[in-house]
Amino acid sequence: MTAATGYNFAYLDDQTKRMIRRAILKAVAVPGYQVPFGSREMPLPYGWGTGGIQVTASVIGPDDRLKVIDQGADDTTNAVSIRRFFARTAGVATTDRTEEATIIQTRHRIPETPLAEGQILVYQVPIPEPLRWLEPRETETRRMHALADYGAMHVKLYEDVARFGRIATTYDYPVMVNGRYLMRPSPIPKFDNPKMHMNPALQLFGAGREKRIYAVPPFTEVRSLDFEDHPFAVQSWDQSCALCGSTESFLDEVVTDDKGGRMYVCSDTDYCGRRRDRKEAAE
């Protein structure tokens, strides 16, 4: 694809990139803390990944190889548009393969293939503040973070236990980063939470509308909140993937007709496709 002319490399102007880069460095130095930044208007609406795009645009260079996923899939509208955006404005190489990518921008999943040192995972974040639905005032949540006053979140999880007998939160499940900051992992399924813990890759989070950047450095402790008698546990399925047969990946339920027919398939299309390729090659 030919690179678009008339734009700066990776779309954003250099001053904006410097401002975002400084925010990223501070975010890495204070893991889990949300650094305010001057989010710019992007050529797509808020809610479509403007935060992640601004972070990627500030980090990416001509030698990088970019992968973009939306709910695990490389071929959905949002992923295709963002990948094409960077192919055109930065002229960078793109890939579907998790281990080939140097930068992976993601909406709502962490790839099943384990990440490696040197990779950067960029999350698109709608609401960065884990306490927002418990306390609407920014001044108050900021103070709660300053004082590490996270009792309200434990009460919320406890109310789940009291009402349903278990913690009912299944995505955007709150985590403690480095034992200090309560962090929203973005709306990934809680299935992915354990992958954040001591991950060799650098994890960056960008929230465009809410104007916040935060980070989890490599090899950082990320603990999902729980109680001694209600320990954190991830989802599991009775089914295996209908396409590749995986019993270890996160499965999407796909309705196939109007008579109650449904199938379960891997949400990570790269992982699923390559398992199928390997199976075919073996046969």
Partner: protein, 202 residues
Amino acid sequence: MAMTAAADSGLHPGFADPGLDSQRVFRAVLEAMARPGTIVGLPARAAGPAPLDAATTAILLALADYETPVWLDGAADQPQVAGYLRFHCGCPLTADPKAAAFAVIAAPMGMPPLSAFNLGSDEYPDRSTTVIVQVATLTEGAPWELGGPGIRDGARLAAGGFPPGFRRWVADNHELFPCGVDLVFTCGDALTALPRSTRLEG
């Protein structure tokens, strides 16, 4: 001939390709900050004025601008340095270390304690100063064992040329977490970082 003129009075050049060189240098600093103690080579350089090392110059060119007041220590506070930073970065220079977004220490032996800089606040720890310290060596000093985010099993940093009590300052700075300054050590063409999240073991 041109070089001599530049060394004497004229303005030194910035990056050959400001956009992409800034990106490369930022990634080097990000790598250093994300993996404390890792020594990262400088991917792009500019011939800055003495006494700034290539890495110090490159970090400032990549990250400083009109939003970031820069504080220079006595050794770095030279007319050619001030002129260079004003021209290429457009950054304000400040005499107040508490007001600095970046501080440049060219002569560590005479540096003020880390607590003299902006440590950020409990509400806004990101507003603290990033202190760039030009050291004599990154590999031949007394080794420090490091732990914390970005470090798997332990890391070691053997920078040297610090004033007495510097290790204590770094340990105290970590105690302030989430407040505290972030340190970048530069030496010639190499750099490494000690964010406030890093603890000194032993």
